[in-house]
């Protein structure tokens, strides 16, 4: 895919999204309500309209090839970039999916303290190709620091999925 194609795709998707937002905004009154002023849909409706106009502007530039991006025939992703960035993005999505409830076929998530070590394992071992010693040290130290910092110092409870019960003894000692 060239940069030019990507520019067209992004502008098209955003055009559709703008139209959808206009339609959704119009579910609330977009006109003048006596003694109340502009209706609740007024502001998002006209701003979505501005989004739509901007998208059309971008598309016109694309057709006329009047910006550097719309002329560029270079690949949108340089060799290797798509795999590298895509892998990390996918790993992030899987990590968040594992945080809580959204397991596969009734299988609950393994929580932050299950997902973070897996993410670190993936990144340090398979992306960074670091040694096992460093990988395992990070897999232990970073979640422990996270727990002490967020849950104990800041009292912010992080999602734990099916591992919730394992933390009860810790709470009794530390809180």
């Amino acid at each position: 895919m060239t940069v030019r194609t990507a520019e067209f795709l992004m502008a098209s998707v955003m055009t559709i999204a703008s139209g959808y937002l206009m339609w959704k905004s119009a579910e609330l009154p977009i006109g003048w309500i006596p003694d109340e002023g502009p209706g609740g849909g007024f502001w998002p409706f006209w701003l979505s309209a501005l989004m739509l106009i901007s998208c059309i502007g971008i598309l016109v530039n694309w057709f006329r090839k009047s910006t550097a991006i719309s002329r560029s025939e270079e690949p949108f992703f340089a060799p290797g970039v798509f795999t590298e960035v895509g892998m990390v993005a996918l790993a992030l999505i899987v990590t968040v999916a594992l945080f809580n409830g959204i397991g596969v076929a009734g299988f609950g998530g393994i929580g932050v303290y299950g997902a973070l070590p897996l993410f670190l394992l993936f990144y340090l071992k398979f992306v960074g190709r670091h040694s096992w010693v460093l990988t395992i040290a990070c897999m232990v130290i970073i979640p422990v620091v996270t727990f002490l910092f967020f849950e104990i110092a800041l009292k912010i409870t992080l999602p734990k999925g099916i591992t919730e019960e394992l933390f009860y003894p810790l709470y009794r000692i530390l809180l």
Binding site: V3, A6, E7, M10, M14, L21, K24, S25, E27, L28, E36, G37, P38, G39, G40, G41, F42, W43, P44, L47, S48, L50, M51, I53, S54, C55, G57, I58, N61, S66, T67, A68, I69, A78, V81, E84, V85, V88, L92, I93, V96, F99, N100, V112, F119, L120, Y123, L124, V127, G128, H130, C138, I142, T146, F150, A153, L154, I156, T157, L158
Partner: protein, 521 residues
């Protein structure tokens, strides 16, 4: 005058309380490191660490965040110079000459120049801030809903006027930010709007942090991974040696750049004050003007010390300047101050003219802390130069997962809703793709913060005037501001027209390869 000095002295007694002094020192250090990390700037540091500030009183919290902001402004230059990757958008102009200097084995000269210029810019701007904040706050007292809305328009117009090449993309970015800010319950009727089929996570609206961490955390890291991959997985490190003799010689050479430093400081401060302009355009403009007033303009881009001094003085001055409209008018001058503003609202402080009368200790404590932060930052920066070089040598593949984890947890912490973490990931990935297509994303972050302020201002104004738009032009303060906003808004269109009239057949995009050229026109 005497009153200001008294208030400032009171501020110093607050800033010098052990807890606050400690927070300033820690903030400066964190800021320096965050700023020095490629892909992370003050905006990331402030966004990620904002949730942590709920532990201390608001005065301490703002000092901590302001110190991070300041420290990052110093630190941003470090990766620009050492790696050629701007540590933050504010340090983009620093790469133009900082990187060539480093390649010539003079990284220490560039780093010292950046630190000293930052100190000059910071100090001049804090002095200006001390004496100009109260009068402006006074003027701001007469501001009503129409004036507020006109100012918001000015803020957005500055972005369009000073912004990137593609006006449509800037406009799109502003509009999408404002629409995202409209998600949730309508402030007047209380009806849910844009909740996409009643998804409960949208009912509480989209927190600006979700967009900010998405774009500046996740999106920026994905972008850095791309740069890293393109570079063959190797950090492009420079050799640097530091000796006393070299440092003394560097400082002597710096004396010759005082004109550039002064120009950068004043320009940066005033650009910083402009709502929504902030340190990035400030530093780019300073670079452009620095080149024009230089005796040797041809050296710019090849390793001119003035080319490092100008943007660095300007970005620090602008970072102070952009706090002025944030505090006095409640309008942020940069994405980072937008986040600071959001923080103040969460702490229960209403930014605006009344802040100066209702929360004197907060305002003057903050101003005094800026003096302290500036002093600490320059000392720390020079002392830590060897340490920065070491941290930057840490493999990127160790830094990256740690930053990602901070983003995920940081996105969850404010609302404790996984829905927001998903949104953040979505914004991060889409933001990364848009950035690859040159969509400016900072306007969207500003817009999501300003949206909840701009909408009520517009609706109230229209209620006052029974729907007559002329209210924005007929009031004494609102009129000129609105006209300035419209001029700025249509400036790019005028420029294009002028270019056409001149019959220049050169396409507008061909100026892309000369960085900063668009600021000189």
């Amino acid at each position: 005058m005497g009153e200001i000095i008294n208030l400032l002295l009171d501020g110093f007694t607050i800033a010098f309380q052990p807890l606050n002094l400690g927070l300033i020192l820690i903030g400066c250090t964190i800021g320096l490191f965050i700023g020095a990390m490629p892909g992370l700037g003050s905006v990331n540091g402030v966004a990620i660490l904002l949730p942590l500030t709920f532990l201390v009183p608001p005065t301490g919290a703002i000092m901590f965040l302001a110190a991070i902001y300041y420290g990052a402004m110093y630190g941003g230059a470090i990766s620009s110079i050492m790696l050629g990757i701007p540590g933050a958008s504010t340090a983009v102009a620093t790469t133009f000459d900082g990187r060539p200097l480093a390649k010539q084995g003079m990284a220490d000269k560039a780093l010292t120049a950046a630190a000293v210029a930052s100190f000059v810019g910071g100090t001049i701007s804090v002095v200006l801030f001390t004496f100009f904040a109260p009068p402006l706050a006074h003027v701001a007292l007469v501001f009503g809903a129409p004036e507020e809305f006109s100012l918001m328009m000015l803020a957005f117009a500055t972005f369009v006027g000073l912004g990137g090449d593609d006006i449509w993309k800037t406009l799109f970015s502003i509009a999408i930010g404002l629409v995202l800010a409209a998600v949730g319950l309508d402030i007047v009727s209380g009806e849910p709007r844009l909740v996409f089929g009643g998804i409960t996570g949208f009912m509480h609206g989209i927190n600006f942090l979700v967009l900010a961490i998405g774009i500046y955390g996740i999106g920026e890291m994905l972008w850095t991974i791309e740069e890293h991959t393109k570079a063959g997985g190797k950090s492009m490190l420079s050799e640097a040696t530091i000796t006393w003799q070299r440092t003394v010689a560097n400082l002597k050479e710096l004396l010759g750049t005082w004109k550039t430093a002064l120009m950068g400081s004043f320009l940066g401060y005033f650009v910083g004050i402009l709502p929504a302009a902030g340190a990035t355009p400030g530093s780019l403009m300073a670079y452009g003007i620095g080149k024009q007033i230089s005796a040797k303009p041809d050296d710019f881009g090849k390793g001119a010390v003035d080319g490092v001094v100008a943007p660095e003085a300007a970005n620090n001055a602008a970072s102070t300047g952009s706090m002025l409209p944030m505090l006095t008018l409640g309008i942020p001058g940069s994405p980072t101050t937008a986040i600071l503003l959001g923080g103040m609202v969460i702490w229960g402080l209403e930014p605006g003219p009344r802040l100066f009368t209702d929360h004197k200790e907060f305002v003057w404590g903050l101003i005094a802390s800026l003096y302290a932060a500036n002093f600490f930052a320059v000392i720390l920066n020079i002392l830590f130069i060897p340490a920065f070089i070491w941290v930057l040598k840490l493999p990127f593949t160790i830094l990256a997962p740690i930053i990602f984890i901070l983003c995920l947890i940081g996105g969850y912490a404010p609302t404790q809703d996984l829905h927001d973490v998903w949104l953040m990931l979505l914004f991060g990935i889409v933001g990364y793709l848009m950035r690859k297509l040159d969509y400016p994303l900072a306007p969207a972050v500003l817009a999501i913060v300003l949206g909840p302020l701009a909408e009520p201002a517009l609706r109230q104004s229209l209620l006052i005037s029974s729907g007559d738009m002329s209210i924005f032009f007929t009031r004494p303060y609102s009129g000129p501001i609105m006209i300035a906003a419209l001029i700025l808004l249509f400036l790019p269109v005028l420029q294009i027209l002028i270019r056409r009239i001149r019959g220049s057949r050169q396409s507008p995009a061909s100026s892309d390869d000369t960085p900063g050229s668009e600021w000189q026109g």
